[in-house]
């Protein structure tokens, strides 16, 4: 393990003040200077003095209930609570006087008299603030024995004690033991202020008061609680405790690393005992998450040690044979021989790779290098193809770079947030919490989504406008908003003149002002009332700070790229670019989807988004890699699959992706995979794609390797090895071994990376936007937002500040074209897809954790009207059919979807939502059109034929022969 000094992790008692005005005061004789608005408690902590406290913690606002943090101030009466008393110039504060000592002991005595004294066997032993405070105040005896307590199940006479409540163990990850609760309300405040769920309340008063989740008869599991764990982290006692701590004990060391689930990129302290992971605690210095996390990152890491994990390499000649476990060497030779044989027979272009958005930057870089420098072609693509490739194209064309413009902190300054085709509540939970906090402070929300998602309304917020458009009409809606802004002259002329190309603006303005783009004209096709569109446009344009956040509901359409361009136009029109609180922010799905794009995974681009056709870019890599680079673009994933079916693409190395489950039109994907001679799957589990594979390289989890992930804010976050790889090798080592096996056979020089930091050094040396990045600098700064180079040695939180990356911002016309995928008599409904909080993508990881408690199967949401006309009741099995295929799943009747629209998630292989989706795709990037499929729904009584035959094939393909003696 590398030496890495943890920055100050102390609890400062109350949140930091943002004021620029400084105040100097004296605490216990020491002068302290802090920002105005800081509490005396925090000022003391800055001076190194910890005032005893129980109800205060620096993640939530002070509450002032425990009365332990009292101080004396010269010239003021009484003993004010230091957590709720702000500093003032010249104050002379004393934190330790005879009177204070007396008072504090009294307070502690009361607490302890109603607390069980089973410290030695308590899960929080050694990690309990109540214990610490008893020690800190010098409590030596408790003079009264409480008659009424909360912790004794029976009273003195042996009768049941009505004050005693049993433990609530309903949540799979933590327990609530009311007998240990000191009613400090830190959990309640955490749930409200940090998470924004408001699941907890303190009911009753005085001695009777207690914490409760949800309504009277709710448990944690049945309440609104989303299991983010903020309350558990905030709790000073064992009342809310991770089950893992109860089972294992308290951790003894920690490593800072980054969550491997979503594009928020939360940093965590992985807390361990030996090499056993005890718990993950979101790190307060993580710049994306600021100490918060969601259920996936904090709790759903059990998959890393799940028994389904494959730990030995495996091979087979044909996919109808069982797997044979072999040594790494044998697997490598088998795979390399096959790939070479394919190239000898079918040409250099007949094989390719798919890089993973779940693996590290360093691993992804090596896989695309494998294609370019070892296979000697550009057949490399990544799952970003199927999610955010239109972002790359659209933002590249308009602004000159393919990434979000802001950091997440920016949301704290936005006045109007426009959320388009994204459900951060489920997909990017920690960002959602930060956005909701801003909405509770009064910022407005415009939601553009066919479905009434969890972002529509919640505790203390409600969208000002919900444009519930018909799936497939994004361009029409975005253009209508621009139409209103242009024709009502709400645009920011000064910004456009100084920052954009004025001629292009005029051309665009003339185009968009045409009445065919007006809200009234598009209302019939979008289904959105014109008045709502006009009001939304006015609100966004007049906002002050307007920020757009968008997701896959924008990109996964046949006009995905056009919508991204339309969004970029909106921000330029209104001058909402280049300062805090504004911007265009694609919410990237997977943890490293940004990074996999940055690292040159696309078949037309070398790392740093530089086209392979440019000889000066190729020259950089030709020099470093010592091979000639193909100047022609390679195949994208859908093109690879088409070429496989046609017989000219025969071999694939697929790292950390499950294309069979995640890509559209499953039957086509299956046919393509079945047509190949060598499919190498490199993954943790025998995923669905592996059913068609000839070689399986076992992968390592993010806990087992060093590297970096890049989140949706372009933030390069370190991933640190927490434990040794279970199957012996980190993924980058496997790729290197495979490359070297092929290189050796060809008599070419081999690769010699000894550590991922050397791979990053090569990336920095060859990619201008990464020029300043190194593992050392990442250790020092914690994380870095690219571009990072001599001009910005500490990285770039905000882009396009002085000017656009491409120079002048470019307006591009956005004509709405209806998708060919239309509902008709045979398929009268439109299916759209999405995700939910507790599961992650294809679910390979989250399905192998207790998160299934929240989502055991995918269901089909259907409007009551559509259900009734089809005779479907809630919970019925229904058949969902499109021109591509059919499947069955259970129906959930809800008015979250509009009539004519149905919705499902895609987390479970049994349902296979992608059997239904079609091969239509974005015009510019071939990003599949997941979000619109014409379907029919009918009652059914069981799995479809496809589901049955699929299951049979899967069972057959997953057999593993016992290892040879």
């Amino acid at each position: 393990m590398k030496d890495f000094i943890l920055p100050d992790d102390r609890d400062m008692g109350t949140p930091a003040s943002r004021s620029k005005t400084m105040v100097t005061l004296e605490i216990d004789g020491f002068p302290v200077t802090v920002p105005e608005g800081t509490s005396i408690m925090r000022a003391a902590a800055e001076a190194g003095i910890s005032v005893p406290k129980l109800c205060a913690t620096d993640s939530v606002d002070a509450f002032g209930s425990c009365r332990l943090c009292l101080v004396e101030i010269e010239g003021r009466n009484g003993t004010p609570a230091s957590c709720t008393t702000p500093v003032a110039p010249g104050l002379k504060v004393h934190t330790q006087t005879g009177k204070l000592k007396q008072l504090r002991r009294g307070v502690m005595e009361l607490y302890i008299s109603d607390h069980p004294l089973d410290c030695l066997t308590c899960a929080a032993n050694g990690d309990c603030e109540l214990q610490d405070m008893a020690g800190a105040v010098g409590l030596r005896d408790v003079r009264y024995e409480a008659v009424d307590t909360h912790f004794q199940p029976r009273d003195a006479a042996g009768g049941a004690n009505p004050q005693w409540l049993p433990k609530d163990e309903s949540n799979p990850y933590f327990t609530y033991d009311p007998s240990k609760c000191i009613v400090c309300s830190r959990c309640v405040r955490a749930c409200e202020e940090i998470q924004g769920t408001f699941a907890l309340t303190i009911s009753g008063r005085g001695f009777d008061s207690r914490v409760h989740a949800g309504l009277a008869d709710d448990s944690f599991l049945t309440s609104d609680c989303v299991s983010c764990g903020a309350c558990v982290q905030a709790c000073p006692t064992a009342t809310l405790t991770e089950k893992s701590v109860i089972e294992i004990g308290t951790p003894e060391r920690s490593v800072i690393t980054t969550c491997a689930y979503c594009g928020v990129g939360c940093q965590f302290k992985a807390e361990l005992r030996g090499d056993e992971l005890v718990r993950m605690v979101p790190w307060k210095h993580g710049k994306a998450n600021r100490g918060h996390s969601c259920v996936k990152g904090r709790f759903a890491w059990g998959y890393a040690t799940h028994r389904d994990r494959i730990l030995s390499p495996m091979i087979r000649d044909r996919i109808d044979e069982p797997w044979r476990e072999v040594s790494w060497e044998e697997a490598m030779t088998f795979a390399a021989d096959r790939m070479r044989a394919i190239q000898d027979r079918h040409g250099r272009q007949s094989i390719g790779v798919i890089t993973s958005s779940r693996c590290t930057n360093e691993e992804t870089y090596l896989v695309q290098k494998l294609a370019r420098a070892v296979f000697r072609n550009n057949n490399t693509d990544t799952c970003a193809r199927v999610c955010h490739s239109p972002t790359g194209y659209g933002l590249g064309q308009t602004y000159g770079t393919s990434a979000g413009t802001q950091d997440f902190d920016s949301v704290e300054q936005c006045d109007v947030a426009v959320v388009i085709g994204a459900n951060p509540h489920s997909g990017h939970p920690v960002f959602a919490s930060r956005l909701k906090k801003r909405l509770r402070q009064g910022a407005k929300l415009i939601l553009i989504d066919p479905r009434r998602t969890e972002m529509h309304d919640g505790p203390h917020f409600r969208a000002a406008h919900h444009l519930a458009l018909k799936p497939g009409t994004n361009v029409a809606v975005v253009s209508a908003l621009a139409h209103v802004i242009v024709t009502e002259k709400l645009y920011d002329e000064a910004f456009i003149r100084s920052r954009c190309d004025w001629d292009e603006f005029q051309d665009y303005a003339e185009f968009i002002a045409d009445p065919r783009h007006s809200p009234e004209a598009v209302e019939p096709l979008t289904g959105v009332p014109a008045g709502e569109m006009r009001a939304a446009a006015r609100l966004y344009a007049g906002a002050g700070n307007g920020a757009i956040y968008y997701g896959l509901g924008v990109t996964e359409h046949s006009q995905g790229s056009t919508t991204v361009i339309g969004i970029a136009n909106l921000a330029m029109l209104t001058g909402n670019i280049g300062r805090p609180g504004v911007g265009v922010n694609p919410l990237r799905g997977q943890n490293n989807v940004q990074g996999s794009c940055d690292m040159g995974s696309f078949p037309h681009e070398l790392p740093g988004y530089r086209h392979v056709k440019n000889p000066e870019v190729r020259a950089i890599y030709e020099r470093v890699w010592g091979v000639e680079i193909d100047p022609e673009p390679g195949l994208r994933i859908p093109n690879m699959l088409d070429a496989a079916v046609e017989g000219s693409f025969k071999g694939l190395y697929c790292q950390g992706e499950d294309i069979l489950q995640s890509d559209p039109d499953t039957q086509h994907v299956a046919a393509a995979l079945a047509a190949m001679d060598c499919v190498i799957v490199h993954d943790l589990f025998l995923n669905e794609t592996a059913n068609y594979a000839h070689v399986f390289f076992p992968g390592s989890s993010f806990l087992e390797k060093d590297g970096t992930f890049t989140n949706a804010e372009r933030r390069i976050n370190p991933v640190r090895r927490v434990m040794a790889p279970k199957q012996g090798l980190a993924d980058w080592e496997v790729t290197q071994m495979f490359a070297n096996t092929m290189l050796k056979a060809a008599g070419a020089p081999e690769w010699h990376y000894a550590h991922p930091s050397e791979i990053m050094d090569e990336i920095a040396a060859t990619t201008p936007s990464f020029a300043g990045v190194s593992f050392d600098r990442l250790d020092r700064l914690g994380s870095i937002q690219w571009p990072c180079n001599d001009a910005a040695p500490e990285g770039t939180p905000m882009m396009h500040v002085e000017g656009f990356v491409r120079g002048r911002g470019r307006f591009i016309r956005t004509e709405y074209v209806a998708t060919d995928e239309r509902s008709g008599p045979r398929y009268p409904l439109l299916l759209t897809t999405g995700r939910i909080l507790s599961q992650y993508n294809v679910g390979a990881q989250t399905r192998r954790t207790a998160n299934v408690a929240w989502h055991a199967e995918d269901v089909l949401e259907i409007h009551p009207h559509d259900a009734e006309t089809r005779g479907i009741r809630d919970g019925d099995w229904v058949r969902l059919a499109s021109r591509s295929g059919e499947t069955t799943l259970r129906a959930e009747i809800t008015d979250k979807v509009s009539p004519g629209v149905v919705y499902t998630t895609f987390h479970h292989p049994e349902t296979q939502a992608n059997v239904i989706t079609t091969d239509y795709s974005d015009w510019a990037t071939n990003c599949p059109e997941y979000k619109v499929t014409a379907v029919q729904v009918a009652p059914s009584n069981g799995p479809s034929d496809w589901q049955k035959s699929y299951q049979e094939q899967a069972d057959l393909a997953r057999r593993i022969l016992p290892a040879a003696e």
């Binding site: 056709k613 022609e632 673009p633 994208r636 046609e646 004509e815």
Partner: protein
């Protein structure tokens, strides 16, 4: 159902044509924009299929695709 190879190539080319036509407002850059896009993003195999269809005068192409054809790079004969 999956569209057959040729139909898919035609549909993809037409989708790009539609965007390029609207982007340029019917101007002359449309054909060049279309050709540049295909040159940048289509692997030689796809361009070869495209030319096979164009050379065989296959039906179904937007006129702009034919107009752009002279600007599209013909792939080298062998892979």
């Amino acid at each position: 159902m999956t569209t057959s190879g040729g139909d898919k190539i035609i549909r993809m080319a037409n989708q790009i044509a539609t965007f390029m036509a609207s982007r340029s407002g019917g101007g002359a850059e449309a054909a060049e924009g279309l050709a540049a896009h295909i040159n940048d993003f289509w692997e030689p195999r796809m361009r070869r299929q495209l030319f096979e269809l164009i050379d065989a005068e296959a039906a179904g192409f937007e006129p702009l695709v034919r107009e752009a054809a002279p600007h599209i790079r013909r792939p080298a004969e062998t892979a």
